[in-house]
Protein backbone atom coordinates (compact mmCIF):
# COMPACT_ATOMS: atom_id res chain seq x y z
CA UNK A 1 0.00 0.00 0.00
CA UNK A 2 1.31 3.42 -0.81
CA UNK A 3 1.93 5.99 1.87
CA UNK A 4 -1.02 8.02 0.70
CA UNK A 5 -3.65 5.33 0.73
CA UNK A 6 -2.41 4.08 4.09
CA UNK A 7 -3.23 7.43 5.66
CA UNK A 8 -6.61 7.85 4.03
CA UNK A 9 -9.62 6.55 5.86
CA UNK A 10 -13.35 6.71 5.34
CA UNK A 11 -14.59 7.77 8.73
CA UNK A 12 -17.41 9.32 10.66
CA UNK A 13 -16.98 12.87 11.97
CA UNK A 14 -16.91 11.71 15.57
CA UNK A 15 -14.07 9.35 14.72
CA UNK A 16 -12.18 12.13 12.93
CA UNK A 17 -12.44 14.13 16.14
CA UNK A 18 -11.01 11.20 18.08
CA UNK A 19 -8.13 10.83 15.64
CA UNK A 20 -7.43 14.54 15.89
CA UNK A 21 -7.41 14.32 19.66
CA UNK A 22 -4.97 11.40 19.55
CA UNK A 23 -2.77 13.29 17.11
CA UNK A 24 -2.78 16.23 19.55
CA UNK A 25 -1.72 13.93 22.38
CA UNK A 26 -4.91 13.31 24.36
CA UNK A 27 -4.21 10.96 27.25
CA UNK A 28 -7.41 11.11 29.25
CA UNK A 29 -11.09 10.95 28.49
CA UNK A 30 -14.00 10.94 30.92
CA UNK A 31 -17.54 10.97 29.65
CA UNK A 32 -21.12 9.89 29.97
CA UNK A 33 -23.06 8.37 27.08
CA UNK A 34 -25.25 10.77 25.12
CA UNK A 35 -26.40 10.82 21.51
CA UNK A 36 -25.04 12.03 19.12
CA UNK A 37 -21.59 12.24 20.70
CA UNK A 38 -21.21 8.72 22.06
CA UNK A 39 -18.96 7.36 19.30
CA UNK A 40 -16.24 9.69 20.55
CA UNK A 41 -16.26 7.88 23.89
CA UNK A 42 -16.50 4.48 22.24
CA UNK A 43 -13.47 5.04 20.00
CA UNK A 44 -11.40 6.46 22.83
CA UNK A 45 -12.32 3.51 25.07
CA UNK A 46 -10.53 1.38 22.46
CA UNK A 47 -7.65 3.70 21.64
CA UNK A 48 -6.58 5.27 24.94
CA UNK A 49 -5.39 2.11 26.72
CA UNK A 50 -3.31 1.26 23.64
CA UNK A 51 -1.20 4.36 24.26
CA UNK A 52 -1.16 4.08 28.04
CA UNK A 53 -3.82 6.74 28.44
CA UNK A 54 -6.96 6.39 30.49
CA UNK A 55 -10.62 6.19 29.61
CA UNK A 56 -13.35 6.28 32.21
CA UNK A 57 -17.12 6.30 31.94
CA UNK A 58 -18.23 8.36 34.89
CA UNK A 59 -21.54 8.31 36.75
CA UNK A 60 -22.75 11.51 35.12
CA UNK A 61 -21.81 14.48 32.95
CA UNK A 62 -20.82 16.59 35.93
CA UNK A 63 -18.42 13.96 37.20
CA UNK A 64 -16.92 13.58 33.71
CA UNK A 65 -16.02 17.24 33.46
CA UNK A 66 -14.64 17.19 37.01
CA UNK A 67 -12.48 14.16 36.23
CA UNK A 68 -11.15 16.00 33.17
CA UNK A 69 -10.11 18.92 35.41
CA UNK A 70 -8.34 16.54 37.78
CA UNK A 71 -6.57 14.65 35.01
CA UNK A 72 -5.36 17.86 33.41
CA UNK A 73 -3.86 19.05 36.70
CA UNK A 74 -2.13 15.70 36.95
CA UNK A 75 -0.45 16.52 33.64
CA UNK A 76 -2.53 14.83 31.00
CA UNK A 77 -4.12 16.34 27.93
CA UNK A 78 -7.72 15.70 28.77
CA UNK A 79 -11.08 15.86 27.04
CA UNK A 80 -14.74 14.98 27.33
CA UNK A 81 -17.55 14.81 24.79
CA UNK A 82 -21.25 15.37 25.10
CA UNK A 83 -24.34 16.86 23.47
CA UNK A 84 -26.75 19.68 24.43
CA UNK A 85 -28.30 18.49 27.72
CA UNK A 86 -25.01 17.01 28.88
CA UNK A 87 -23.23 20.22 27.97
CA UNK A 88 -25.63 22.08 30.29
CA UNK A 89 -24.64 19.77 33.15
CA UNK A 90 -20.95 20.30 32.53
CA UNK A 91 -21.15 24.08 32.82
CA UNK A 92 -20.29 24.20 36.52
CA UNK A 93 -16.97 22.48 36.00
CA UNK A 94 -16.29 24.34 32.75
CA UNK A 95 -16.51 27.53 34.80
CA UNK A 96 -14.15 25.98 37.32
CA UNK A 97 -11.68 25.12 34.55
CA UNK A 98 -11.89 28.70 33.27
CA UNK A 99 -11.33 30.15 36.75
CA UNK A 100 -8.58 27.74 37.76
CA UNK A 101 -7.04 27.97 34.25
CA UNK A 102 -7.05 24.26 33.57
CA UNK A 103 -6.41 23.34 29.93
CA UNK A 104 -8.99 20.91 28.58
CA UNK A 105 -11.22 20.24 25.58
CA UNK A 106 -15.00 19.77 25.66
CA UNK A 107 -16.73 18.46 22.56
CA UNK A 108 -20.39 19.32 22.14
CA UNK A 109 -21.93 17.47 19.22
CA UNK A 110 -25.01 19.66 19.07
CA UNK A 111 -28.51 18.32 18.71
CA UNK A 112 -31.86 20.09 18.59
CA UNK A 113 -33.12 21.46 21.93
CA UNK A 114 -34.15 22.87 24.34
CA UNK A 115 -34.10 20.20 27.02
CA UNK A 116 -33.76 16.66 25.70
CA UNK A 117 -35.18 18.00 22.43
CA UNK A 118 -34.49 15.78 19.46
CA UNK A 119 -31.84 13.31 20.51
CA UNK A 120 -30.84 12.11 17.05
CA UNK A 121 -31.46 15.27 15.04
CA UNK A 122 -29.22 18.16 14.22
CA UNK A 123 -29.20 21.59 15.86
CA UNK A 124 -26.72 24.45 16.34
CA UNK A 125 -28.38 26.17 19.24
CA UNK A 126 -25.59 25.76 21.80
CA UNK A 127 -23.59 28.67 20.38
CA UNK A 128 -24.72 30.96 23.17
CA UNK A 129 -24.52 28.22 25.75
CA UNK A 130 -20.86 27.75 24.86
CA UNK A 131 -20.24 31.42 25.52
CA UNK A 132 -22.62 32.17 28.37
CA UNK A 133 -23.43 28.81 29.93
CA UNK A 134 -21.39 29.36 33.05
CA UNK A 135 -21.95 32.03 35.67
CA UNK A 136 -19.62 34.95 36.19
CA UNK A 137 -17.22 36.61 33.79
CA UNK A 138 -14.59 34.83 31.78
CA UNK A 139 -13.94 34.33 28.14
CA UNK A 140 -13.98 31.09 26.22
CA UNK A 141 -12.81 29.64 22.92
CA UNK A 142 -15.27 27.68 20.78
CA UNK A 143 -14.43 26.17 17.40
CA UNK A 144 -16.37 24.31 14.75
CA UNK A 145 -15.90 22.59 11.38
CA UNK A 146 -17.78 21.59 8.24
CA UNK A 147 -15.73 18.72 6.82
CA UNK A 148 -14.40 15.52 8.32
CA UNK A 149 -10.87 16.64 7.48
CA UNK A 150 -11.44 19.92 9.29
CA UNK A 151 -12.91 18.14 12.30
CA UNK A 152 -9.55 16.43 12.63
CA UNK A 153 -7.43 19.57 12.34
CA UNK A 154 -9.74 21.78 14.39
CA UNK A 155 -9.60 19.23 17.19
CA UNK A 156 -5.80 19.45 17.10
CA UNK A 157 -6.13 23.23 17.22
CA UNK A 158 -8.48 23.00 20.20
CA UNK A 159 -5.82 21.18 22.23
CA UNK A 160 -3.17 23.62 21.10
CA UNK A 161 -5.22 26.61 22.20
CA UNK A 162 -6.17 24.95 25.50
CA UNK A 163 -2.54 24.27 26.35
CA UNK A 164 -1.28 27.65 25.16
CA UNK A 165 -3.76 29.78 27.07
CA UNK A 166 -4.59 27.40 29.93
CA UNK A 167 -8.24 27.50 29.10
CA UNK A 168 -11.14 25.16 28.39
CA UNK A 169 -11.78 25.01 24.63
CA UNK A 170 -15.16 23.95 23.29
CA UNK A 171 -15.64 22.09 20.04
CA UNK A 172 -19.10 22.99 18.75
CA UNK A 173 -19.75 20.27 16.23
CA UNK A 174 -23.25 19.21 15.23
CA UNK A 175 -25.08 15.95 14.71
CA UNK A 176 -24.74 15.96 10.92
CA UNK A 177 -20.98 16.50 11.14
CA UNK A 178 -20.61 13.94 13.94
CA UNK A 179 -22.39 11.20 12.03
CA UNK A 180 -21.48 11.97 8.43
CA UNK A 181 -18.79 9.91 6.72
CA UNK A 182 -16.09 11.29 4.46
CA UNK A 183 -12.54 10.44 3.68
CA UNK A 184 -9.91 11.66 6.10
CA UNK A 185 -6.23 11.96 5.34
CA UNK A 186 -4.33 11.63 8.56
CA UNK A 187 -1.31 13.90 8.54
CA UNK A 188 2.12 12.52 9.34
CA UNK A 189 3.49 13.24 12.78
CA UNK A 190 4.97 16.73 12.69
CA UNK A 191 2.86 17.87 9.76
CA UNK A 192 0.50 19.77 12.06
CA UNK A 193 2.00 21.57 14.98
CA UNK A 194 1.18 20.20 18.41
CA UNK A 195 1.58 22.48 21.41
CA UNK A 196 2.89 20.96 24.61
CA UNK A 197 2.17 22.38 28.01
CA UNK A 198 4.51 25.17 29.08
CA UNK A 199 6.22 23.81 32.17
CA UNK A 200 7.73 25.98 34.86
CA UNK A 201 11.50 26.18 35.09
CA UNK A 202 11.41 27.24 38.73
CA UNK A 203 13.94 25.11 40.59
CA UNK A 204 13.03 22.80 43.47
CA UNK A 205 13.03 24.67 46.76
CA UNK A 206 12.28 27.99 45.06
CA UNK A 207 8.77 29.42 45.30
CA UNK A 208 6.60 28.56 42.34
CA UNK A 209 3.58 30.77 41.71
CA UNK A 210 1.06 28.84 39.63
CA UNK A 211 -0.94 31.96 38.83
CA UNK A 212 1.82 34.39 38.04
CA UNK A 213 1.62 35.18 34.35
CA UNK A 214 4.76 35.68 32.26
CA UNK A 215 5.13 38.82 30.23
CA UNK A 216 3.49 37.15 27.24
CA UNK A 217 0.51 36.24 29.38
CA UNK A 218 1.30 32.53 29.56
CA UNK A 219 1.33 30.74 32.90
CA UNK A 220 4.00 28.05 33.20
CA UNK A 221 2.59 24.94 34.86
CA UNK A 222 3.73 22.27 37.23
CA UNK A 223 1.79 19.03 37.32
CA UNK A 224 0.44 17.34 40.42
CA UNK A 225 2.98 14.78 41.52
CA UNK A 226 5.94 16.88 40.45
CA UNK A 227 8.26 18.96 42.60
CA UNK A 228 6.10 22.02 43.19
CA UNK A 229 3.01 21.76 45.32
CA UNK A 230 0.35 24.41 44.98
CA UNK A 231 -3.30 25.17 45.60
CA UNK A 232 -6.01 25.23 42.95
CA UNK A 233 -9.40 26.74 43.77
CA UNK A 234 -12.50 28.02 42.04
CA UNK A 235 -12.50 30.99 44.38
CA UNK A 236 -10.79 34.20 43.41
CA UNK A 237 -7.18 33.60 44.19
CA UNK A 238 -3.77 35.25 44.33
CA UNK A 239 -0.61 34.24 42.49
CA UNK A 240 -0.18 31.36 44.98
CA UNK A 241 -3.63 30.06 44.12
CA UNK A 242 -4.79 30.92 47.62
CA UNK A 243 -8.32 32.37 48.07
CA UNK A 244 -8.55 36.15 48.24
CA UNK A 245 -11.36 38.68 48.37
CA UNK A 246 -9.11 41.70 47.90
CA UNK A 247 -10.95 43.91 45.39
CA UNK A 248 -7.74 44.72 43.54
CA UNK A 249 -6.79 41.08 43.07
CA UNK A 250 -10.33 40.05 42.17
CA UNK A 251 -10.52 42.76 39.52
CA UNK A 252 -7.13 41.81 38.15
CA UNK A 253 -8.05 38.16 37.83
CA UNK A 254 -11.36 38.84 36.03
CA UNK A 255 -9.53 41.03 33.56
CA UNK A 256 -6.86 38.40 33.08
CA UNK A 257 -9.44 35.67 32.38
CA UNK A 258 -11.24 37.82 29.85
CA UNK A 259 -8.28 39.61 28.29
CA UNK A 260 -6.11 36.56 27.69
CA UNK A 261 -8.67 35.54 25.07
CA UNK A 262 -10.40 38.73 24.00
CA UNK A 263 -7.13 40.51 23.16
CA UNK A 264 -6.32 37.66 20.78
CA UNK A 265 -9.54 37.61 18.78
CA UNK A 266 -7.76 38.07 15.47
CA UNK A 267 -5.02 35.58 16.32
CA UNK A 268 -7.60 32.97 17.28
CA UNK A 269 -9.84 33.59 14.27
CA UNK A 270 -9.95 30.62 11.90
CA UNK A 271 -12.15 30.63 8.85
CA UNK A 272 -12.52 29.56 5.23
CA UNK A 273 -13.70 31.74 2.39
CA UNK A 274 -15.09 31.04 -1.03
CA UNK A 275 -15.45 33.65 -3.78
CA UNK A 276 -15.50 36.62 -1.45
CA UNK A 277 -13.38 38.97 -3.57
CA UNK A 278 -16.20 40.36 -5.68
CA UNK A 279 -19.18 38.96 -3.80
CA UNK A 280 -22.23 41.17 -3.54
CA UNK A 281 -24.15 38.53 -1.65
CA UNK A 282 -22.23 37.03 1.26
CA UNK A 283 -23.34 33.97 3.17
CA UNK A 284 -21.93 33.49 6.66
CA UNK A 285 -22.21 29.97 8.03
CA UNK A 286 -20.49 27.20 9.98
CA UNK A 287 -20.68 23.49 10.66
CA UNK A 288 -23.03 21.38 8.58
CA UNK A 289 -24.95 24.47 7.36
CA UNK A 290 -21.80 25.76 5.71
CA UNK A 291 -21.91 22.74 3.38
CA UNK A 292 -25.35 23.68 2.08
CA UNK A 293 -24.28 27.30 1.84
CA UNK A 294 -21.23 26.32 -0.17
CA UNK A 295 -23.28 24.16 -2.49
CA UNK A 296 -25.58 27.10 -3.23
CA UNK A 297 -22.65 29.45 -3.77
CA UNK A 298 -21.00 27.05 -6.24
CA UNK A 299 -24.16 26.57 -8.27
CA UNK A 300 -24.98 30.29 -8.38
CA UNK A 301 -21.42 31.15 -9.33
CA UNK A 302 -21.85 28.87 -12.32
CA UNK A 303 -24.75 31.04 -13.33
CA UNK A 304 -22.59 34.14 -12.96
CA UNK A 305 -23.94 35.42 -9.64
CA UNK A 306 -21.58 37.41 -7.47
CA UNK A 307 -22.01 35.37 -4.35
CA UNK A 308 -19.54 34.11 -1.76
CA UNK A 309 -19.27 32.30 1.53
CA UNK A 310 -17.50 33.11 4.77
CA UNK A 311 -17.30 29.92 6.79
CA UNK A 312 -16.49 30.52 10.43
CA UNK A 313 -14.35 27.99 12.28
CA UNK A 314 -13.77 30.13 15.35
CA UNK A 315 -17.12 31.10 16.83
CA UNK A 316 -15.82 32.43 20.15
CA UNK A 317 -14.17 34.82 20.65
CA UNK A 318 -16.34 36.12 17.83
CA UNK A 319 -14.12 37.36 14.98
CA UNK A 320 -15.80 40.75 14.57
CA UNK A 321 -13.03 42.41 12.56
CA UNK A 322 -12.91 39.52 10.15
CA UNK A 323 -16.65 39.52 9.57
CA UNK A 324 -16.75 43.30 9.11
CA UNK A 325 -13.90 43.20 6.63
CA UNK A 326 -15.20 40.26 4.61
CA UNK A 327 -18.72 41.63 4.32
CA UNK A 328 -17.72 45.26 3.76
CA UNK A 329 -18.67 45.29 0.08
CA UNK A 330 -21.70 43.04 0.30
CA UNK A 331 -25.13 44.29 -0.56
CA UNK A 332 -26.71 41.60 1.58
CA UNK A 333 -25.37 39.23 4.23
CA UNK A 334 -27.16 35.95 4.96
CA UNK A 335 -26.35 34.04 8.12
CA UNK A 336 -27.20 30.38 7.71
CA UNK A 337 -27.55 28.43 10.97
CA UNK A 338 -29.81 26.02 12.85
CA UNK A 339 -31.09 28.31 15.58
CA UNK A 340 -32.95 31.58 16.02
CA UNK A 341 -29.94 33.68 15.09
CA UNK A 342 -27.21 33.13 17.65
CA UNK A 343 -24.39 33.92 15.23
CA UNK A 344 -26.67 36.33 13.36
CA UNK A 345 -26.75 38.63 16.38
CA UNK A 346 -22.95 38.65 16.47
CA UNK A 347 -22.73 39.38 12.76
CA UNK A 348 -25.21 42.25 13.13
CA UNK A 349 -22.98 43.76 15.78
CA UNK A 350 -19.94 43.37 13.58
CA UNK A 351 -21.09 44.85 10.29
CA UNK A 352 -21.55 48.46 9.22
CA UNK A 353 -25.20 48.05 8.26
CA UNK A 354 -27.05 45.51 10.43
CA UNK A 355 -30.25 45.97 8.43
CA UNK A 356 -28.58 44.20 5.52
CA UNK A 357 -28.07 41.01 7.56
CA UNK A 358 -30.69 38.28 7.19
CA UNK A 359 -31.21 34.96 8.90
CA UNK A 360 -31.63 31.71 7.00
CA UNK A 361 -32.46 28.96 9.44
CA UNK A 362 -34.43 25.84 10.31
CA UNK A 363 -35.55 24.81 13.76
CA UNK A 364 -37.08 21.41 13.04
CA UNK A 365 -34.11 19.12 13.51
CA UNK A 366 -33.34 18.92 9.81
CA UNK A 367 -30.52 20.45 7.86
CA UNK A 368 -30.94 23.68 5.92
CA UNK A 369 -30.79 22.72 2.24
CA UNK A 370 -29.37 24.82 -0.57
CA UNK A 371 -32.95 25.14 -1.82
CA UNK A 372 -34.04 26.55 1.56
CA UNK A 373 -31.31 29.16 1.37
CA UNK A 374 -32.16 30.00 -2.25
CA UNK A 375 -35.84 30.48 -1.46
CA UNK A 376 -35.21 32.90 1.37
CA UNK A 377 -32.70 34.83 -0.71
CA UNK A 378 -35.26 35.21 -3.50
CA UNK A 379 -37.83 36.58 -1.06
CA UNK A 380 -35.37 39.07 0.36
CA UNK A 381 -34.18 40.07 -3.09
CA UNK A 382 -37.83 40.74 -3.97
CA UNK A 383 -38.01 38.04 -6.61
CA UNK A 384 -40.87 36.11 -5.05
CA UNK A 385 -40.74 32.46 -4.16
Amino acid sequence: MSQETRNVRFVQGNEACVRGALYAGVKFFAGYPITPSTEIAEHLAIQLPKIGGAFIQMEDEIASMCAVCGASLAGRKAMTATSGPGFSLKQEAIGYAAMAEIPCVIVDVQRAGPSTGLATKVGQADVNQARWGTHGEHSIVALTASTIQDMFSITVQAFNIAETYRTPVILLFDEVMGHMRESLTIPEAGELSVVERLKTDVKPGVNYHPYLAREDGRLPMSDYGEEHRFHVTGLFHDIWGFPTEQPQQVDKLVHHLVDKIETRVNELAMWKEFYLDDAEEVLVSYGSCARSARHLVESRRQKGHKIGLLELQTIWPFPKDLVREKTANAKNVYVVELNMGQVLSQVKQAVKDPDRVYLVNRLDGTLVTPTDIGKIMRVIEGKGI
Binding site: P49, E59, D60, A63, A74, Y224, G225, E226, F242, P243
Partner: protein
Protein backbone atom coordinates in the same frame (compact mmCIF):
# COMPACT_ATOMS: atom_id res chain seq x y z
CA UNK B 1 10.03 15.51 58.97
CA UNK B 2 9.14 18.84 60.55
CA UNK B 3 5.44 19.62 60.50
CA UNK B 4 6.23 22.98 58.99
CA UNK B 5 7.06 21.09 55.81
CA UNK B 6 3.56 19.66 55.76
CA UNK B 7 1.63 22.88 56.23
CA UNK B 8 1.52 26.20 54.43
CA UNK B 9 2.41 28.49 57.26
CA UNK B 10 1.78 31.62 55.29
CA UNK B 11 -1.87 30.66 54.85
CA UNK B 12 -2.51 30.58 58.58
CA UNK B 13 -4.40 31.52 60.73
CA UNK B 14 -7.12 29.19 59.45
CA UNK B 15 -10.73 30.30 59.04
CA UNK B 16 -12.31 27.81 61.45
CA UNK B 17 -14.18 28.98 64.57
CA UNK B 18 -12.68 28.41 67.99
CA UNK B 19 -13.61 24.92 69.13
CA UNK B 20 -14.36 23.61 65.62
CA UNK B 21 -13.56 19.93 65.09
CA UNK B 22 -11.93 20.35 61.70
CA UNK B 23 -8.59 21.39 63.16
CA UNK B 24 -8.46 18.13 65.11
CA UNK B 25 -8.75 16.18 61.89
CA UNK B 26 -6.05 18.30 60.24
CA UNK B 27 -3.77 17.67 63.20
CA UNK B 28 -4.43 13.95 63.08
CA UNK B 29 -3.80 13.78 59.33
CA UNK B 30 -0.48 15.59 59.64
CA UNK B 31 0.65 13.16 62.32
CA UNK B 32 -0.30 10.21 60.16
CA UNK B 33 1.46 11.52 57.06
CA UNK B 34 4.52 12.18 59.18
CA UNK B 35 4.45 8.77 60.85
CA UNK B 36 3.98 6.98 57.57
CA UNK B 37 6.94 8.94 56.22
CA UNK B 38 5.06 9.78 53.04
CA UNK B 39 6.79 12.07 50.58
CA UNK B 40 4.70 15.28 50.47
CA UNK B 41 5.23 15.31 46.70
CA UNK B 42 3.19 12.13 46.52
CA UNK B 43 0.34 13.65 48.51
CA UNK B 44 -2.78 15.11 46.96
CA UNK B 45 -5.68 16.58 48.86
CA UNK B 46 -8.88 17.25 46.96
CA UNK B 47 -11.74 18.90 48.80
CA UNK B 48 -15.21 20.17 47.98
CA UNK B 49 -16.91 23.23 49.43
CA UNK B 50 -17.68 24.17 53.00
CA UNK B 51 -15.80 24.80 56.23
CA UNK B 52 -14.14 21.39 56.13
CA UNK B 53 -13.14 21.83 52.49
CA UNK B 54 -10.80 24.68 53.41
CA UNK B 55 -8.46 22.10 54.93
CA UNK B 56 -6.84 21.56 51.53
CA UNK B 57 -5.48 25.11 51.57
CA UNK B 58 -3.49 24.48 54.72
CA UNK B 59 -1.58 21.33 53.83
CA UNK B 60 1.52 21.57 51.71
CA UNK B 61 0.43 18.89 49.25
CA UNK B 62 -0.85 19.11 45.70
CA UNK B 63 -4.23 20.54 46.57
CA UNK B 64 -7.48 21.23 44.81
CA UNK B 65 -10.44 23.03 46.34
CA UNK B 66 -13.14 22.00 43.90
CA UNK B 67 -16.85 22.65 43.54
CA UNK B 68 -19.56 21.68 46.03
CA UNK B 69 -19.85 17.90 46.06
CA UNK B 70 -17.36 17.37 43.25
CA UNK B 71 -14.20 16.45 45.10
CA UNK B 72 -14.47 12.72 44.39
CA UNK B 73 -14.81 12.93 40.59
CA UNK B 74 -11.95 15.47 40.46
CA UNK B 75 -9.87 13.11 42.59
CA UNK B 76 -10.82 10.20 40.34
CA UNK B 77 -9.39 12.04 37.33
CA UNK B 78 -6.15 12.67 39.17
CA UNK B 79 -5.82 9.12 40.47
CA UNK B 80 -6.52 7.59 37.05
CA UNK B 81 -3.83 9.85 35.59
CA UNK B 82 -1.22 9.26 38.28
CA UNK B 83 -2.09 6.14 40.29
CA UNK B 84 1.15 6.50 42.27
CA UNK B 85 -0.22 9.54 44.12
CA UNK B 86 -1.78 9.27 47.59
CA UNK B 87 -5.09 11.04 47.23
CA UNK B 88 -7.04 12.17 50.28
CA UNK B 89 -10.53 13.58 49.87
CA UNK B 90 -11.99 15.40 52.87
CA UNK B 91 -15.65 16.28 52.49
CA UNK B 92 -18.38 17.77 54.61
CA UNK B 93 -21.60 15.84 55.23
CA UNK B 94 -23.64 17.90 52.79
CA UNK B 95 -20.76 17.84 50.34
CA UNK B 96 -20.39 14.05 50.42
CA UNK B 97 -23.94 12.88 51.01
CA UNK B 98 -26.27 15.46 49.43
CA UNK B 99 -24.91 17.17 46.32
CA UNK B 100 -22.06 14.67 46.08
CA UNK B 101 -24.08 11.59 47.04
CA UNK B 102 -24.06 10.12 43.55
CA UNK B 103 -20.31 10.59 43.23
CA UNK B 104 -19.80 9.00 46.64
CA UNK B 105 -21.64 5.77 45.91
CA UNK B 106 -19.94 5.39 42.53
CA UNK B 107 -16.48 5.99 43.94
CA UNK B 108 -17.25 3.23 46.49
CA UNK B 109 -18.51 0.97 43.71
CA UNK B 110 -15.40 1.45 41.58
CA UNK B 111 -13.16 0.78 44.54
CA UNK B 112 -10.69 3.37 43.33
CA UNK B 113 -7.81 3.95 45.73
CA UNK B 114 -8.87 7.22 47.35
CA UNK B 115 -9.14 8.00 51.05
CA UNK B 116 -12.47 9.75 51.55
CA UNK B 117 -13.00 11.42 54.90
CA UNK B 118 -16.55 12.51 55.65
CA UNK B 119 -16.34 15.21 58.29
CA UNK B 120 -19.78 14.88 59.77
CA UNK B 121 -20.89 17.87 61.82
CA UNK B 122 -24.57 17.29 60.93
CA UNK B 123 -24.99 20.83 59.66
CA UNK B 124 -24.07 23.22 56.84
CA UNK B 125 -21.65 25.46 58.66
CA UNK B 126 -20.34 27.78 55.99
CA UNK B 127 -23.79 28.85 54.80
CA UNK B 128 -24.94 29.46 58.35
CA UNK B 129 -26.57 26.37 59.84
CA UNK B 130 -28.98 24.62 57.45
CA UNK B 131 -29.85 20.95 57.96
CA UNK B 132 -27.85 18.31 56.12
CA UNK B 133 -28.63 14.74 55.05
CA UNK B 134 -26.83 13.60 58.18
CA UNK B 135 -28.64 15.93 60.60
CA UNK B 136 -31.34 13.43 61.44
CA UNK B 137 -34.94 13.91 62.56
CA UNK B 138 -35.79 16.56 65.06
CA UNK B 139 -32.64 18.60 64.59
CA UNK B 140 -33.08 22.33 64.59
CA UNK B 141 -31.51 24.30 61.77
CA UNK B 142 -32.16 27.60 60.06
CA UNK B 143 -34.05 25.71 57.34
CA UNK B 144 -35.71 23.39 59.88
CA UNK B 145 -37.06 25.90 62.37
CA UNK B 146 -39.68 23.39 63.60
CA UNK B 147 -37.26 20.47 63.64
CA UNK B 148 -36.05 18.43 60.69
CA UNK B 149 -38.44 15.75 59.38
CA UNK B 150 -35.75 14.26 57.12
CA UNK B 151 -34.34 10.86 57.90
CA UNK B 152 -30.57 10.73 57.91
CA UNK B 153 -28.18 8.45 56.12
CA UNK B 154 -25.88 6.11 57.93
CA UNK B 155 -22.59 6.85 56.16
CA UNK B 156 -21.14 3.51 57.18
CA UNK B 157 -24.04 1.42 55.85
CA UNK B 158 -24.16 3.47 52.68
CA UNK B 159 -20.45 3.04 51.98
CA UNK B 160 -20.67 -0.66 52.77
CA UNK B 161 -23.67 -1.14 50.54
CA UNK B 162 -22.05 0.77 47.70
CA UNK B 163 -19.00 -1.46 47.82
CA UNK B 164 -16.23 0.44 49.59
CA UNK B 165 -13.51 -1.96 50.62
CA UNK B 166 -12.57 0.00 53.75
CA UNK B 167 -15.22 1.61 55.93
CA UNK B 168 -14.68 3.15 59.35
CA UNK B 169 -16.12 5.65 61.80
CA UNK B 170 -14.51 7.67 64.54
CA UNK B 171 -14.95 11.00 66.28
CA UNK B 172 -12.98 14.13 67.04
CA UNK B 173 -12.93 13.08 70.68
CA UNK B 174 -11.08 9.85 69.96
CA UNK B 175 -7.92 11.37 68.55
CA UNK B 176 -5.70 8.34 68.91
CA UNK B 177 -8.28 6.07 67.34
CA UNK B 178 -8.72 8.60 64.54
CA UNK B 179 -5.01 8.56 63.78
CA UNK B 180 -4.97 4.75 63.78
CA UNK B 181 -7.94 4.56 61.45
CA UNK B 182 -6.64 7.24 59.09
CA UNK B 183 -3.31 5.46 58.92
CA UNK B 184 -5.00 2.22 57.91
CA UNK B 185 -7.28 4.03 55.49
CA UNK B 186 -4.37 5.71 53.71
CA UNK B 187 -2.46 2.45 53.53
CA UNK B 188 -5.50 0.57 52.28
CA UNK B 189 -5.47 -0.26 48.58
CA UNK B 190 -8.96 0.61 47.37
CA UNK B 191 -11.67 3.06 48.29
CA UNK B 192 -11.59 4.00 51.98
CA UNK B 193 -14.54 5.78 53.52
CA UNK B 194 -13.92 7.19 56.97
CA UNK B 195 -16.63 9.08 58.79
CA UNK B 196 -15.35 11.42 61.46
CA UNK B 197 -17.95 12.96 63.74
CA UNK B 198 -16.78 16.53 64.27
CA UNK B 199 -18.26 19.26 66.38
CA UNK B 200 -19.64 22.50 65.02
CA UNK B 201 -20.24 24.50 68.18
CA UNK B 202 -21.12 27.60 66.22
CA UNK B 203 -24.22 26.34 64.41
CA UNK B 204 -25.03 22.80 65.47
CA UNK B 205 -24.24 22.94 69.17
CA UNK B 206 -25.71 26.33 69.85
CA UNK B 207 -28.87 25.94 67.77
CA UNK B 208 -29.69 22.54 69.25
CA UNK B 209 -28.84 23.56 72.81
CA UNK B 210 -26.18 20.88 72.97
CA UNK B 211 -23.59 23.29 74.29
CA UNK B 212 -20.11 24.29 73.18
CA UNK B 213 -17.18 22.34 71.79
CA UNK B 214 -16.44 20.52 75.03
CA UNK B 215 -20.05 19.42 75.49
CA UNK B 216 -20.18 18.10 71.96
CA UNK B 217 -16.92 16.23 72.41
CA UNK B 218 -18.25 14.72 75.61
CA UNK B 219 -21.35 13.61 73.74
CA UNK B 220 -19.12 11.70 71.30
CA UNK B 221 -17.45 10.06 74.28
CA UNK B 222 -20.78 9.14 75.86
CA UNK B 223 -22.92 8.30 72.83
CA UNK B 224 -20.50 6.10 70.91
CA UNK B 225 -18.81 2.79 71.61
CA UNK B 226 -16.19 0.66 69.86
CA UNK B 227 -17.36 -2.17 67.64
CA UNK B 228 -17.48 -5.44 69.56
CA UNK B 229 -17.28 -3.71 72.92
CA UNK B 230 -19.27 -4.68 75.97
CA UNK B 231 -20.55 -1.14 76.19
CA UNK B 232 -22.10 -1.46 72.75
CA UNK B 233 -23.53 -4.87 73.50
CA UNK B 234 -25.22 -3.55 76.62
CA UNK B 235 -26.52 -0.46 74.90
CA UNK B 236 -27.21 -0.98 71.18
CA UNK B 237 -28.53 2.59 70.96
CA UNK B 238 -24.94 3.82 70.99
CA UNK B 239 -23.25 4.73 67.72
CA UNK B 240 -20.62 2.13 66.87
CA UNK B 241 -17.07 3.23 66.09
CA UNK B 242 -14.19 1.40 64.52
CA UNK B 243 -13.41 -0.39 61.27
CA UNK B 244 -16.50 -1.97 59.71
CA UNK B 245 -15.01 -3.22 56.47
CA UNK B 246 -11.39 -3.93 55.61
CA UNK B 247 -11.20 -6.18 52.60
CA UNK B 248 -8.92 -6.78 49.70
CA UNK B 249 -10.78 -6.27 46.46
CA UNK B 250 -9.56 -5.43 42.97
CA UNK B 251 -8.59 -1.78 42.86
CA UNK B 252 -9.79 0.32 39.93
CA UNK B 253 -6.47 1.72 38.68
CA UNK B 254 -4.86 -1.72 38.90
CA UNK B 255 -7.77 -3.12 36.97
CA UNK B 256 -7.28 -0.43 34.36
CA UNK B 257 -3.60 -1.35 34.14
CA UNK B 258 -4.87 -4.80 33.10
CA UNK B 259 -7.05 -3.15 30.46
CA UNK B 260 -3.96 -1.38 29.14
CA UNK B 261 -2.06 -4.67 29.03
CA UNK B 262 -4.93 -6.37 27.25
CA UNK B 263 -5.33 -3.57 24.71
CA UNK B 264 -1.65 -3.83 23.86
CA UNK B 265 -1.69 -7.61 23.48
CA UNK B 266 -4.30 -7.55 20.75
Amino acid sequence: MAYTDLIRERFFPHIWCPGCGHGVVLNSLLHVVDELGLDPRSMCMISGIGCSARISGYVNFHTMHTMHGRALPCATGIKMSKPELNVIVPMGDGDAMAIGGNHFIHACRRNIDLTAIVLNNRIYGMTGGQYSPLSGRGILATTAPYGSIDNDFDTVSLAKGAGASFVARTTAFHVKEMAKILKKAINHKGFSAVEVMVQCPTYFGRKNKMGGAIDLLKSYRDNTAPLGSKKLEENPELIPRGIFVDEERPEYCEEYANVIAQANEE
